[in-house]
Amino acid sequence: MNVRPAAARVTWLVGAAAFVIFACALALLIGPTSIDRTSILLEALDAVLPVEIDSGLNDRQASIVRTLRLPRVALGLLVGAALSTAGATFQGVFRNPLADPYLLGVAAGGGFGATIAFVYNLGDGRGFLDMVQIFAFIGALTAVGLTWTMGVLGDRTRSASSLILAGVAVASFFTAMQTYLQQANTDDIRQVYSWFLGGLNTSGWVEVTQLLPFVIVGVVVLVLASRSLDVLAVGDDEATMLGLSVGRTRIVLVVVASLLTASAVAVSGLISFVGLIIPHTVRLLFGSSYRIVVPLSVAVGAGFLVLCDLIARTALSPAELPIGVVTAFFGAPFFVVILRTAAAR
């Protein structure tokens, strides 16, 4: 490719932003209640921009846009951005194309936490500081903490492979505990099952405001630190000789990416595939430098999840399809197409 990353990045970021805006507009326009399209967009702009815009919608219609569709789109953006940015970071930190945000046990830990909350009827996963969310968050971070402790105890060099192996062990352990709890309390199995497939259920703006600070801080740090992932790509020894504190960089990136993933998992359950496939799609289309992959993954992941959620809530309307089903059903074939096109180039 004959373009400098700096120049190319601007063009591609503009394109990615256009994709995000298109996905958001589409998701706002389509829903069970038919409302004038221009008015929906005007109402959304009125809500988002600091200027007064008269959309001409009545109170009920305006409320549908403002408290149902808009927060859901916003949550899709945040969760999609969080998962794909964390996924890109994990792939770089571990130099492993199969790494995803759940690599170090976030999913198993979060699942265990959420199952406890469901089984003991502590919450339903919605609303402000709901116990399912809090337990999932704590469970996810506990699992990553255990993985890190075991990985470092087992190997003083803190090599990537010992962490991955520790992650496998911790994930299996938490999955076993979760399955035990679930089998002992089969009454709650449907709730647990649905949580595991993920979903962007909102109650107004509560979930969005809870998640927003995590995503802003996490995404900004990971985008700024993306160059260190390029340095890590030459291996631990050479990266050290280039002046990178490999151990410290790895722990900072893993902690930030794990917090980002845990906060997303807490509000949306386990949405699979996004964190694995979006960074690869970006890499195949735009190049492998993490200074391109990480920022573009933010945008493409955000737009992709908003589109998937649109399908999830319209395909079987009025019933909702779990979003994890959509991300895999449409994401997998799409990824194969991209893979084949890139291989043919």
Binding site: V234, L244, S288
Partner: protein, 266 residues
């Protein structure tokens, strides 16, 4: 002035001793070449100086033990050209060379115009101009080797360590790269420590040679005293003729002619 001081450096791995009590001082602006047969400990010594291998004894750069330096401080003083570098997928030559600027950049910032200008200058000097936008993984072995040297040069460290820097280069590029390093040394005052397989080239460019054998220093000094047929025959188990042409010490392998009295075909 001493740039690099290596004192009593040993490396033990499990039951094997890879290096045993190696001590040598390298002056600022000097070119020291480490030679020796396979398994003598050349790369091990270089990796110990680079600080990527745990060793006993001390390695000091400009009077500071490298063990006391952070990776960033150390990278400001020493750059390293590994023998088999890890080539990242999907990175172009310019971005790869710019990795060398890491110790000069804030951890959260990107290379600026000055960094890019410097990288382009080094790329020109290494005869890689047309390859700036090519992916490193698509380059030939010799081109890659020069790109890795480029990465070390933009690091602008006073000490450069090179592990077999010319092993993949053709004769012309060997000469070019070594002359460039020699220029940096004489005009920029850089100190160079390299391992070399080609004894003649090692002798031509280095001020002093260290002959390592079984992890210990067998001989040290200018080419004329180290590249002797006795030393080479003892430690390399090779039979060679050593001659001098225009002041350069030439090491030429001796080919054994088949005995003329041996059976001939009728």
């Amino acid at each position: 002035m001493t740039a690099v001081s290596i004192h009593d450096v040993s490396v033990h791995v499990k039951n094997a001793t890879l290096l045993n009590g190696v001590s040598v001082d390298v002056a600022a602006g000097e070119w020291l070449s480490i030679i020796g047969p396979n398994g003598a400990g050349k790369s091990t010594l270089l990796r110990s100086i680079a600080g990527v291998l745990a060793c006993t004894g001390t390695v000091e750069i400009d009077g500071t033990p490298i063990a006391n330096l952070s990776p960033r401080q150390r990278a400001g003083l020493v750059s390293w050209v590994p023998q088999t570098p890890t080539i990242p997928m999907g990175m172009n030559v310019l971005d790869y060379v710019l990795l060398g600027r890491t110790p000069h950049l804030h951890p959260l910032s990107s290379p600026g115009k000055n960094d890019i200008d410097l990288a382009r200058r080094v790329i020109d000097e290494l005869d890689l101009t047309g390859l700036t936008d090519r992916l490193v993984e698509t380059l030939s072995g010799g081109e890659r080797q020069r790109v890795v040297i480029g990465r070390a040069l933009v690091q602008e460290s006073p000490v450069i360590l090179l592990d077999e820097p010319t092993s993949a280069l053709d004769l012309g590029h060997q000469q070019e790269v070594l002359q460039l390093l020699d220029r940096l040394r004489s005009t920029g005052g850089r100190t160079i420590i390299s391992t070399m397989h080609d004894l003649t080239l090692a002798g031509q460019f280095a001020d002093r040679l260290v002959l390592l054998a079984a992890g210990e220093i067998a001989a040290i000094g200018p080419a004329s005293t180290v590249l002797t047929s006795e030393l080479i025959e003892t430690h390399y188990r090779a039979s060679v003729n050593v001659t001098t042409v225009d002041g350069a010490v030439l090491v030429v392998p001796r080919i054994h002619q088949p005995d003329s009295s041996a059976t001939k075909e009728p």
